[in-house]
């Protein structure tokens, strides 16, 4: 039996695996990455939205573009990426068994990094096996990789970031999302992700779950009902929807089987998403020479997965003597600071399950945002991004402490302030003059920034909003302005449409509405659609 040897074998070509491979190869190591998929990039290639974080985390770049950048970097660094290669076995002596087509190959790595990511969880309900019930990841794969609609009328179960993001992407693909449902009493994902779905008119049903998927051969409808504190159905609260598809986004579990097989010490850690290896700060498992990085060692984000990958790559490089301890420490120090800034804020791993009532600034969180997906008109004024002034000015409806700051970087006029602590709420500096360039609107991954001219003359207000749907409305088009709650408010006319390479796919729609709706109108529906 022929066994090929590598300095480093990485399992998984997602953001963490590719980053680990790049870091190691940069220091001269001979590296191979195996991935069972036909394309590299892991989860990134399905993510068509702009990412959070700050510049060093590749914020405001769309996920699939980050994936392309990583692949190019890996290629430049001389990393070998083997696709359609499933790693079926990993043994303590760092031997790796790989299935490629009908053949089984054996490899040996002086170091191994496991970056296999996570798998989607499922919930059982009556009818859950019917065709038409699918994972949110499956829906994403169909629409974003293959250009096929997962269904026409869809109900989404799960209000974490995955459920929210995939709901928005379903709308972008031209599907109808009839409801977003979660058994939890509060929306689990970022408020800004929820708000961009809610303002299009998708209703949120928190403290609700699926009772039954209906249909004989495939899904034709669904009944949901309210649940009490013990997740028991409350009689008389049934609600029925005609749907052809039900998407389930109820969390991810680390795919840590290989680590277990290799004899790494494991633990069951709900905060990290399930069965995970017990690891040191930089992904060192209990078995020398075997490391783990990314979602497999705790469900987080692509941004953190990339940093963890780099860290484990650097540690593996030192372990095999390709860099000195001092060089390693220097690399790690930088990465640690970068990772730390991502792990702050309300959604940080350490805050999971906590009932947070106030922002870091001491402002009460919008309870409506947590229950319905949008901030009420009566709540919005208390946030530092919402100010009033003559002429065009930004209104920032970003009301939770999340690690994100592209808005601050986007504004060359310094209208927007977050400071060095990237989870702080963005504040608008009223003394700075906005030149209506639109860069902040387009660069906000949460689509939470609007440009408002409260007095555009003739008792009208003008509102500029981000728009990522087709067909793109044209100047002069008439329609209806919707509120944050997605309900029709008043007549609106499109006065300007801006698209530019710098806006990266986000169009800027300016609508004119009666002045009293300046702080209420947040979405536009063309007349035919309304």
């Amino acid at each position: 039996m022929k066994i090929e040897r590598f300095d480093l074998i990485v399992v998984g070509a997602g953001p963490s695996g590719l980053s680990a491979a790049i870091e190691a190869a940069k220091h001269g190591m001979k590296v191979v990455v195996f991935d069972e998929n036909a394309r590299p990039g892991g989860q990134l290639f399905k993510q068509i939205h702009k990412f959070f974080g700050s510049k060093e985390h590749k914020a405001k770049i769309r996920g699939f573009h980050i994936g392309e950048q990583l692949l190019k970097e890996a290629d430049d660094a001389g990393v070998k990426v083997e696709l359609n290669a499933t790693v079926a076995g990993l043994y303590q002596d760092r031997e790796v068994v790989v299935r490629m087509g009908d053949e089984v190959h054996h490899f040996k790595g002086d170091a191994i990094i496991i970056a296999t990511g996570a798998a989607e969880n499922m919930v059982l309900f009556d009818g859950w096996t019917l065709p038409g019930v699918m994972g949110a990841g499956a829906a994403q794969t169909l629409m974003n990789l293959y250009g096929v609609k997962p269904g026409e009328r869809i109900l989404m179960l799960g209000s974490g970031n995955v459920g929210l993001v995939v709901s928005y992407q379903l709308l972008q693909a031209g599907c109808q999302v009839v409801a977003l449902v979660d058994a939890a009493p509060k929306i689990g994902g970022y408020g800004v992700h929820a708000a961009k779905v809610a303002r299009t008119g998708v209703p949120f049903y928190l403290s609700h779950t699926i009772k039954k998927a209906e249909g004989t051969d495939h899904v034709t409808g669904v009944t949901i009902a309210e649940v009490d504190n013990h997740f028991q159905f409350i009689p008389g609260t049934d609600k029925h929807f005609d749907v052809d598809t039900i998407c389930v986004a109820v969390g991810l579990s680390p795919m840590s089987q290989l680590l277990k097989m290799a004899g790494c010490k494991m633990e069951d850690n709900p905060k990290r998403g399930g069965q995970v290896p017990i690891i040191g700060e930089y992904g060192e498992t209990s078995v020398p020479g075997i490391f783990s990085a990314g979602d497999v060692s705790g469900i987080e984000e692509a941004s953190s997965a990339m940093i963890e990958g780099r860290m484990s790559g650097a540690v593996a490089a030192e372990y095999l003597g390709y860099i000195t301890k001092e060089e390693k420490e220097e690399i790690l120090a930088k990465l640690k600071a970068s990772l730390g800034s991502l792990r702050e804020g309300m959604f940080a791993p350490k805050n999971r399950g906590k009932d947070i009532k106030e922002t870091e600034e001491g402002i009460p969180i919008s309870t409506n945002l947590l229950h319905k997906g949008y901030v009420l008109d009566s709540e919005i004024e208390r946030f530092p991004g919402v100010t009033h002034k003559k002429g065009v000015h930004p209104v920032i409806e970003c009301t939770q402490n999340i690690p994100c700051n592209p808005c601050q970087d986007a504004c060359t006029r310094h209208c927007i302030k977050i400071g060095s602590h990237i989870t702080a709420l963005p504040a608008v500096d009223e003394t700075a003059d906005c030149i209506n360039c639109g860069m902040c609107v387009a660069s906000c991954p949460g689509q939470a920034i609007f440009l408002v001219n409260e007095d555009a003359g003739d008792r009208k207000a003008e509102i500029t909003l981000p728009y990522e749907f087709l067909p793109l409305p044209e100047t002069g088009m008439k329609g209806t302005a919707l509120g944050r709650d997605g309900q029709p408010l008043c007549d609106a006319e499109v006065t300007r449409v801006r698209s530019s390479k710098a806006f990266d796919g986000t169009n800027l729609l300016t609508i004119s509405v009666p002045a009293e709706f300046a702080m209420k109108a947040r979405f536009f529906k063309a007349a035919a659609q309304a």
Binding site: E36, N37, A38, I48, R62, A119, E120, T129, L130, P131, G132, V133, M134, G135, G137, A138, A139, T141, L142, M143, N144, Y146, G147, V148, K149, P150, Q172, A173, G174, D217, H218, V219, E468, F469, L470, L472, G505
Partner: protein, 109 residues
């Protein structure tokens, strides 16, 4: 084709320049793009049921779309248990609903 996203606001036209091929689904002629997963082509043609389970004869369709759950297996060119979400579509393929492990409905088995 029904079920296709003709123009996507971020991804543009996703199937531009792809070759259209003809295949058969339970004897019916259908069109899809060469190289896309069979399951994607079926979905675009409105097919929901891929197979019926062996014991309880329950329908199954696309569930994970990444080759993990085996719900989408069908009889392809005579071979049963082919994961249609992972298998690329080719000109002239014969794709059949799988009943248990056969392409014959249960009452004919």
């Amino acid at each position: 084709m029904a079920g296709r996203i003709a123009q996507h606001p971020i991804l543009g036209c996703q199937n531009e320049n792809k070759k259209i091929v003809t295949f058969h689904y339970d004897g019916k002629e259908m069109k899809g793009f060469e190289g896309e997963p069979i399951a994607a082509a079926l979905k675009a043609n409105g097919v929901m049921v891929h197979r019926y389970t062996l014991k309880q004869h329950k329908p199954r369709g696309i569930f994970c779309a990444i080759g993990r759950c085996t719900d989408c297996v069908m009889v392809v060119d005579g071979e049963p248990n082919v994961r249609t979400c992972m298998t690329p579509l080719a000109e002239g393929m014969d794709v059949r609903t799988q009943y248990g492990v056969s392409d014959k409905p249960f009452d004919q088995q």
